[in-house]
Symmetry: none
Amino acid sequence: MKLIQLQAQSSLPKYKQIVRSIEIAIQEKRLQKNDHLPSINKISLEHGISRDTVLLAFDELKKRGIVYSRLGKGYFVKSTESQVEMRIFLLFDELNAFKEELYLSFLEQIGNKAQVDIFFHHFNENLFQKMVNDSNGNYSKYIIMPSNLKQVSSCIKQLPREDVYILDQTNEQLKELPSVHQHFEKDIFRALEKGMHLLQKYNRFILIFPGEKEPEGMVIGFRTFCEKHQLNYEIIPNFDTKTIEKGAVFVIPSDLHLVQVIEQGKSQQLNLGTDYGIISFNDMPLKKVVENGITTISTDFKKMGTTLAKMVLSNEKKQIENPSDLIIRNSL
Amino acid sequence: MKLIQLQAQSSLPKYKQIVRSIEIAIQEKRLQKNDHLPSINKISLEHGISRDTVLLAFDELKKRGIVYSRLGKGYFVKSTESQVEMRIFLLFDELNAFKEELYLSFLEQIGNKAQVDIFFHHFNENLFQKMVNDSNGNYSKYIIMPSNLKQVSSCIKQLPREDVYILDQTNEQLKELPSVHQHFEKDIFRALEKGMHLLQKYNRFILIFPGEKEPEGMVIGFRTFCEKHQLNYEIIPNFDTKTIEKGAVFVIPSDLHLVQVIEQGKSQQLNLGTDYGIISFNDMPLKKVVENGITTISTDFKKMGTTLAKMVLSNEKKQIENPSDLIIRNSL
DNA sequence: TCTAATTTGTGCGTATGTATG
DNA sequence: GCATACATACGCACAAATTAG
């Protein structure tokens, strides 16, 4: 029996007939793992169809994880397990408690409709580029956290535009791509407005902003709020050897500084929530039990995961701002 | 170790794999200045590849000024102080706050003396094997966290023995390889002994041990301690819907369970440190300020990173146990 | 000096996947 | 669907230098 069966009258497009033929051949074990498939030239000649049509079919098989290709050699069978229709490439920056929540809710919503591979670039541009390039052509969808990396948009643009989604943080170069992201500037501004009734007892507003991993939008939102209300504010990159003045309130994106401030407060025997205040970022269980509760500005990572999964599955293309909220606890 | 490592399924073209093999051999001083390289005929025969592919690789090396050739004689190493830097393959299990500390301290100590690529196996054996195999021949050093994976030692043994280092957790099969690791069994035992004066007020010892990611040594150390002192102990896989009895002390490797226990304690209005106790694993800043301080058993991840980097750079081969300690706070 | 074997060097052809218009 | 250029891989033939015998 010939490997590839083509019927002109079939309702199936030719390229799908090719995909089916290969899948069936694998199922019937006429094709084994690492077997060499006929070259696209050969198939296109033998069946009198365009090279591009065969290529389309083989690309589809590659996306599904069924075959792999080697330049100058040919196409080979990668996996004989029956594959799901969709394979998703997920590139995170780092894994922490919040990201894990996002990842798990995404997985749950995707269910068994796709196979998901997750990777981490760890804010390293070289690693980012290597991973994106290596994955290119091997997945049906690409979901990427560019974080605050500046030079990666050109790299992302090399992926098939219609299969790319941006996650958590977008930027000027990527704003046309579908995304589920935080609007850091707006979120921090609104959260501060919401907490205004508690903030009025403080007379000095301090943002601790190292600026390596954190998005610039935070600074803008914070500054806008402070200037609108004519507040006495300051933006510092770290909290080394500072003392806390009574009446100060700290806005702290990094948990490292959160602990430094709390410890300094303790050593000065200040009362958190009256003598000085804290607003932290990214809620997590432990923060409920730190010092009777830390007030946080946090996006809903669980919702981010489900929104993204729904968008990917329904093949929608939207730019969605994920909801964020101020969770008020005893530290304000 | 063979001079030239070829991976059929690598994303790198064959000729580039050859180039890299030679570069790494020079970098590791397995090839000295004016050394005679194997002839292109020999290489093509031995590896079953075309003579022209080898030629392509050697031409590339010539262009880069790394080798020279003499007609009728062969290829020779031209320059050993080439621009090639050390390439390090780093395979972690997962990234969390502690691992990040380890990674960053390693990077800092390595400085610009090497290019470091980090990967994550996420406790998945297939992924582990794929990553190790793909990397083989492409790096000058291989640093690997086998974690609690059982079947991976044969895979690790395929790497060049003299370039492999084991990190964080070793095992019986890998004990000959150089490593910087925790001795979980000893560490937990010693930590509990050190805290004995505080533990005496408790009458029930509970280890919450899911056993998926955590090393078996913890269980052995815990059990040994309890049996030595004839304590009433229990090992449970999770903390779902449990109530806390007064006089219980929990040993908790996973932070997920840590929060569950603390919240349960609060809902029962129990006093942590008197009514019940907690020992957590892996210290991090937040734990200083959770419930006035959580007692932890923790290894020094920062030191682990620098120790490892120094060992790699100096080309030493030792089995080093990384120091671990009990940090006593109010939760005991 | 001649020869055979081995080596690099060169040229040409074929086949394959990849990218672009 | 067609055309073109490019990168990778393999194979063959032959020339030129070296070495061993």
